[in-house]
């Protein structure tokens, strides 16, 4: 009697937590929608929510007689910026989650293979020395180059041990940081200011053309991670365990590194270096939902987008002047992360 009662109670608790978790997952998956709508109403240009709705209705075909500048602000300034922020958040978070899975290391972020140093060097080169190369292109090329060099350095006898890969990333990062320092020394004060500002990360020059150039590659990278996400669970167990279940860990590590590098390079190239996002978003989700990558990756994409766009709302509207978004991700993310860390055993890895 008591046993049956206890079992029924356990089942109820289990069902409740199962249903509760499903609801929570759904909530996190849908979170970008309200975040998008809220963000579209935030900005320094004086325009009310009703007027925004009116302008959107006008676009559909019913002319509401609004000044054309309203349409410009909504469709040429706010919308590309909101979408770019969401794309950057998704790309960095998904890459961070993938890299953490591959490296089986909670301290890993999308910049582990020298991507950020490579991108910063590329941007600095364009801003201060070879001005005919577009900043975005230069940052993208050098970020991918850094990852390629790190991977080729780490590869020995057809294998890429995780430890070698991390060490190669550190070395490549150091080399590009030194090259960046040389550029910073050589350029004039104004170029130096631009380089420093770029490195702090910002969405203030968002445009449709930036979105168009970066979105396909970011999407490709995210889709690569998303479609193979269950394999990250196997990779996270280690190379030997992966081989024991018939999986080629080298092949999938390669696919994940390329996908994550593509996604994060596209993001860094258009937004600069945004710190902590790719580290804390997957961790926050892991603390709430556990380490299963089948759930973690799609949630990283949606929650990353939500987190980034809300942070950018603060960056562009809270003080009335532009604050580099990378500063805010760190200032907000770090204490929030510390709070969750204290409440969660082993940071969600167990």
């Amino acid at each position: 009697m008591n046993i049956d009662y206890g079992r029924r109670k356990l089942d109820a608790v289990h069902n409740y937590s199962f249903i509760g978790k499903r609801v929570l997952v759904l909530l996190f998956l849908l979170m970008p929608i309200p975040a998008f709508l809220i963000s579209m109403t935030i900005g320094t240009f004086p325009i009310t929510t009703g007027e925004i709705a009116g302008v959107i209705v006008s676009r559909i075909g019913m002319d509401m007689g609004h000044p054309s500048v309203y349409e410009t602000v909504i469709f040429q300034v706010r919308l590309p910026r909101v979408l770019l922020s969401m794309m950057v958040g998704s790309a960095l978070s998904a890459s961070g989650a993938a890299f953490q899975g591959i490296f089986r290391n909670p301290l890993v972020d999308p910049y582990i293979l020298g991507l950020s140093s490579g991108a910063a060097f590329g941007a600095a080169l364009s801003l201060g020395v070879v001005s005919w190369i577009p900043v975005q292109l230069s940052a993208f090329i050098f970020s991918l180059l850094a990852v390629a060099v790190a991977c080729s350095m780490a590869r020995t006898e057809g294998r890429t041990p995780v430890v070698s890969l991390v060490l190669s990333g550190v070395i490549v990062s150091a080399v590009f940081s030194s090259l960046l320092a040389i550029v910073q020394i050589a350029v004039d004060e104004r170029a130096l200011q631009s380089i420093v500002y770029w490195m702090m990360g910002s969405m203030n020059t968002a445009s449709w053309s930036k979105l168009e150039s970066s979105f396909p590659l970011a999407l490709l990278g995210c889709l690569g991670i998303l479609s193979l996400r269950w394999r990250l669970n196997v990779l996270a167990l280690g190379d030997e365990e992966a081989r024991s279940v018939g999986m080629d860990p080298e092949r999938y590590k390669g696919i994940f590194v390329i996908s994550a590098a593509l996604a994060s390079s596209s993001a860094v190239a258009v937004a600069g270096i945004i710190g902590l996002l790719g580290l804390i978003v997957p961790h926050i989700l892991r603390m709430i939902f556990g380490p299963d990558h089948r759930t973690l990756i799609p949630l990283s994409i949606t929650f990353g987008a939500t987190f980034m766009v809300l942070v950018d709302d603060l960056a562009r509207a809270a003080l009335g002047f532009e604050v580099p978004v990378g500063i805010i991700t760190t200032l907000i993310g770090a204490p929030f992360f510390a709070y969750l860390l204290r409440r969660t055993r082993a940071g969600g890895w167990e």
Binding site: F45, Q193, S194, T205, E322
Partner: protein, 344 residues
């Protein structure tokens, strides 16, 4: 008797000449530091180019001992420097290592004074030169037009040519006057609102910057004066694009930008969000085409002012020929022609 009177006169002359050769003089640099030099300085090192330009308009180029190896856009400037200082190519170049000046090269030259750019008395180069080498350092930090005139006077003191410095200041002021006499009567309401675009595009000149003064003298008004945010007072604030659209400047003035042209701002896809700004709608986007000739933080500040005035108030300055003014200005300041820099 006659001989002793003659000797006494010579001794008196020598005594009077001593202060002129090496009398200690106190200067106050742009950071408010007191700098004591023996006037006139015979061996001056310039690690900042704008002060070198000023010095060449006043002093004997022979007294320029060495030059920092960090001249920006040197290809635009070296012909001019060679014209005003025939030994320019032979001057010692002081290198920098990781941003720090080469103290050994500097020590080997033994200058009387080093002139450098510094934003704070804690500047590493400033401290290293004064504390390690014990060489006086004059720190340059220009934030206003008045600072430029002060620099002219101080270079006159350093070189012992205060009279020539007064002449140079008068020349600069006469060119400025040519513009301001035409613009000072314009009311604030009638002045076009001007957005100054630094190379970071949404970075601009704040209300307490040298360009704010220059824009006003040129007959415009810095659009930052209409931004109700404390950031507008910053020297280089970054403005949200939506704010810029609501401020709606009539003129956009770009600092020399290798990556952008006015046409990009007017019709480029990256600037689609700017299309409702008056300046863009009316095609009133201009660029400082030559950062040497129109450098506002140099003695050529009046030329920068004329460049701005011609575009901000085209009706007032329709007849102004910038090339003619440049020729006259270079002649009065440096005794060379423009273009070509042939000696007068």
């Amino acid at each position: 008797m006659k001989i002793s009177r003659y000797m006494a006169r010579i001794a008196l002359c020598l005594l009077l000449a001593i202060p002129a050769l090496g009398a200690p003089v106190e200067l106050e640099d742009d950071l408010g530091r007191t700098v004591i030099i023996d006037q006139p300085c015979q061996k001056v090192v310039f690690l900042v180019e704008n002060a070198l330009n000023t010095y060449y308009s006043i002093a004997d180029p022979e007294t320029v001992l060495a030059i920092g190896d960090n001249i920006w856009k040197r290809e635009l400037k070296e012909d001019f420097f060679r014209a005003v200082d025939p030994k320019f190519d032979d001057k010692v170049r002081i290198g920098f290592d990781s941003g720090l000046v080469s103290l050994e090269t500097l020590a080997a030259e033994g200058p009387d004074l080093v002139v450098l750019w510094a934003t704070s008395p804690e500047d590493e180069n400033l401290k290293a030169i004064t504390e390690t080498l014990g060489i006086p350092v004059y720190a340059v930090f220009i934030t206003s037009i008045e600072d430029m005139y002060k620099q002219v006077r101080e270079m006159g003191t350093i070189s012992g040519r205060a009279d020539r410095a007064a002449e140079v200041e008068a020349i600069m002021k006469s060119y400025v006057e040519e513009v301001t006499s035409a613009t000072e009567g314009i009311s604030d309401e009638d002045r076009p609102k001007v957005y100054w675009m630094w190379s970071d595009v949404l970075g601009t000149a704040g209300r307490e910057s040298g360009f704010d003064d220059l824009i006003y003298q040129a007959g415009g008004i810095n659009v930052m004066n209409f931004w109700e945010n404390d950031a507008s007072r910053m020297e280089h604030p970054t403005v949200p694009l939506e704010t810029l659209i609501s401020l709606n400047p009539d003129v956009i003035y770009m600092w020399y930008n290798e990556k952008l042209d006015p046409e990009d701002v007017i019709s480029g896809t990256e600037f689609a969000g700017w299309k409702d700004i008056n300046a863009v709608k009316n095609g009133r986007v201009y660029e400082i085409e030559n950062p040497f000739l129109f450098d506002a933080f140099s003695p050529r500040m009046p030329m920068a002012l004329m460049h701005l005035a011609r575009n901000i108030q085209p009706e007032l300055f329709a007849d102004m020929s910038i090339d003619e003014r440049l020729d006259g200005f270079f002649g009065e300041m440096y005794s060379v022609h423009y273009p070509g820099y042939a000696a007068l």
